[in-house]
């Protein structure tokens, strides 16, 4: 199955005040999707002008979040937005799944918490690698994680 990123009009991202210049959505359904998502995030960080260390931070955070959605959430979607605000540019990643949600978000953010194949550093680690972090588990189920990193300039 070929999965093509779906482009949608910019600026409709979840959880943001800054203007989105560009928005793409990717499925997170298969192992191949995980790699595809990483490549897309890498491309977005390059486009935004991040240095190599920041690129690595954002791609690593993305890898943790999409893996969580794939393993714990039964798959979902990744939205990549390139943002601009006065004094800087940024990349926002929104990973949502329709899984059971997270019963105890505080516990899930603590290092060492794991119900799957990771080391339990995924969610808390992603939070440390990014400037902004939001997690939402609506009552109806599912998990939405939204993270942003800004350029320093």
């Amino acid at each position: 199955m070929v999965t093509t990123p779906r482009e949608t009009p910019a600026g409709r991202g979840w959880g943001g005040a800054a203007a989105a210049e560009h928005r793409t959505e990717y499925p997170v359904r298969t192992e191949e999707d995980l790699l595809e998502a990483r490549h897309a995030v890498r491309a977005a960080t390059l486009e935004t002008g991040f240095g190599l260390v920041d690129q690595t931070r954002v791609v690593t955070a993305a890898s943790e979040l999409v893996r969580n959605a794939y393993i714990h959430g039964g798959g979902g979607t990744l939205v990549i937005e390139r943002l601009r605000r006065p004094g800087g540019r940024g990349v926002r990643l929104t990973v949502s799944d329709a899984g059971p949600g997270i019963a105890n978000v505080d516990a899930a953010l603590a290092d060492g918490f794991s119900t799957g194949s990771g080391l339990g550093h995924g969610l808390g680690g992603a939070r440390r690698l990014m400037h902004e972090f939001r997690i939402d588990c609506p009552p109806g189920g599912g998990t939405i994680v939204c993270v942003t990193r800004w350029t320093s300039g």
């Binding site: 890898s63 080391l119 680690g125």
Partner: protein, 128 residues
């Protein structure tokens, strides 16, 4: 990724496109080769890894522990500096995993040394 044997050392590497299935296949093959060839050392070059997330970190940790139980010492070589910075921020310390700056330093730690004659022999085609 091929696994080469140099004396009692196995030399291999990880590619950036590591997914769960290929990671498990890699661990299986490497442990089988350690046993079959009675390897006492394993060099894993990771200079092509653009990121190490908690999944890859776990794979490296478990592989190191398994190899040690089979009598082989693992050295992970060539981590890119941005990857090292990110790993620390992520909170992953890769406990128990021995590292080396590059493959050559890793091989030296496993008892392989570049001799004077090999150094002279490679002069001219050594880009560095």
């Amino acid at each position: 990724m091929p696994i080469l044997r140099l004396g009692d050392v196995l030399v291999t590497g990880l590619l950036d496109e590591l997914d769960d299935r290929s990671a498990m296949a890699f661990v299986d093959e490497l442990t089988e080769r350690i046993t079959r060839e009675a390897a006492t050392g394993v060099l894993i070059d990771i200079s092509r890894l653009e990121i190490i997330d908690s999944f890859v970190a776990r794979t490296l940790s478990e592989l190191t522990t398994t190899a040690r139980l089979l009598g082989a010492r693992v050295i992970v070589a060539g981590m890119r500096p941005p990857v090292a910075i990110t790993l620390v921020e992520l909170g992953l310390k890769l406990h128990g995993v021995e590292t080396a700056l590059n493959a050559e330093a890793g091989m030296a730690a496993l008892g392989w040394y570049r001799t004077r004659s090999s150094r002279e022999g490679s002069r001219g085609d050594d880009a560095s």
